[in-house]
């Protein structure tokens, strides 16, 4: 897998276009699945109950690995990024203001990156 020793073969044009368009169509169908096909039909109560928790479950799950193993540091735990994430969380829960939490988190991030330089 080392790029120096094994030069990568060029991607076949046909392969590229199949993946590109197939992924485009497939992704659209995933996005359209409920919005388009269910529409305004009433969904069962148990499903709605689960869907109410989609944002508070999916978005933290999406972010957690990025916080603990940031790609920018090659996957190593980074004190600056971890602290910034925790500060953002505390500010968001405490102040309930998204913009302030973002600004606070970024301020801590840059401050820590600069201090740990």
């Amino acid at each position: 897998m080392s790029p120096e020793t094994a030069p990568l073969a060029a991607i076949e044009t046909a392969d590229l276009w199949i993946v590109m368009l197939g992924l485009g169509i497939g992704s659209f169908l995933l996005r359209f699945a409920f919005l388009g096909l269910v529409g305004n039909r009433q969904m069962p109560e148990w499903l709605l109950r689960h869907l109410r928790y989609t944002p508070v479950a999916v978005l933290p799950a999406l972010v957690a690995p990025l916080v603990v193993w940031p790609s920018a540091t090659g996957g190593d735990l980074d004190p600056a990024r971890l602290t910034a994430a925790l500060v953002t969380l505390v500010l968001g829960v405490w102040l309930r203001r998204t913009m302030l939490a973002i600004l606070g988190g970024l301020a801590v991030l840059y401050l820590m990156l600069w201090m740990l330089g």
């Binding site: 897998m1 990568l8 073969a9 060029a10 991607i11 392969d15 590229l16 199949i18 993946v19 590109m20 368009l21 992924l23 485009g24 497939g26 992704s27 659209f28 995933l30 699945a33 409920f34 919005l35 388009g36 269910v38 305004n40 969904m43 148990w46 689960h50 869907l51 109410r52 928790y53 989609t54 944002p55 508070v56 479950a57 999916v58 978005l59 933290p60 799950a61 999406l62 972010v63 957690a64 690995p65 990025l66 916080v67 603990v68 193993w69 940031p70 990024r81 910034a84 994430a85 953002t88 969380l89 829960v93 102040l95 998204t98 939490a101 973002i102 988190g105 970024l106 991030l109 840059y110």
Partner: protein, 242 residues
Amino acid sequence: MTSYADPSAQASTRPVFFQGLRDGAPFLLVVSPFAMLFGVVATEAGLTVYEALVYSIAVIAGASQFASLQLLRDGAPVVVALVSALAVNLRMAMYSASLTPYLGDAPLWKRAVAAYFLVDQSYACSIVAFEKHREWSTAQRMAYFFGVILPICPMWYAMTVVGALVGSAIPPELALDFALPITFIAMVSPMLLTKAQMMAAGVAILLALVFAGLPYNLGLLIAALAGMMTGAALEKRLEDRS
């Protein structure tokens, strides 16, 4: 702030559209470097500028674009590249389901257009706003959604081209890689009001870390589903008790 209470302005979509625009604008900081990086990686993989642009227009989902391109470069079979990248995008179906109670009344063509533009950022902004402004009509919700999209998605296309042409990404010292985590944490944390919501988030975070090593982003799906089930089960129990 605009006065939503004014009955004559109740169906007005303009102020809501601009609110969406404002809420979406900060994501330019997140989307631009990511799209540029895709342009760079795409040209390095031998794609033309045009092909890189079509990629971004057809898919508009960063992580799956990177994943599929990497697999193709590594010489993986087309089916493997396609299925893996689609698995990365399975969360979009969750987003779609989650927004359906809010947008399901809109005309089909509008729902189709919104579906195409359903990305992490537009979902996160919309669900936060829709939960907060329960009084919004479906038309207003759609207006908000498209307001959020307007700065983000054209920038996704444009910055892909810039990256492909310039061939260099934004310097890593700016640490813009971390703008996305911070923004999403800042959006979700104010939503954590009840015990059920906190537990849902806690379980999702824990399992996302435990299963981070699984292929095809499966860890994310397991964690998200477990989080949703935790929240729903707790809510039901508290409801039954009262």
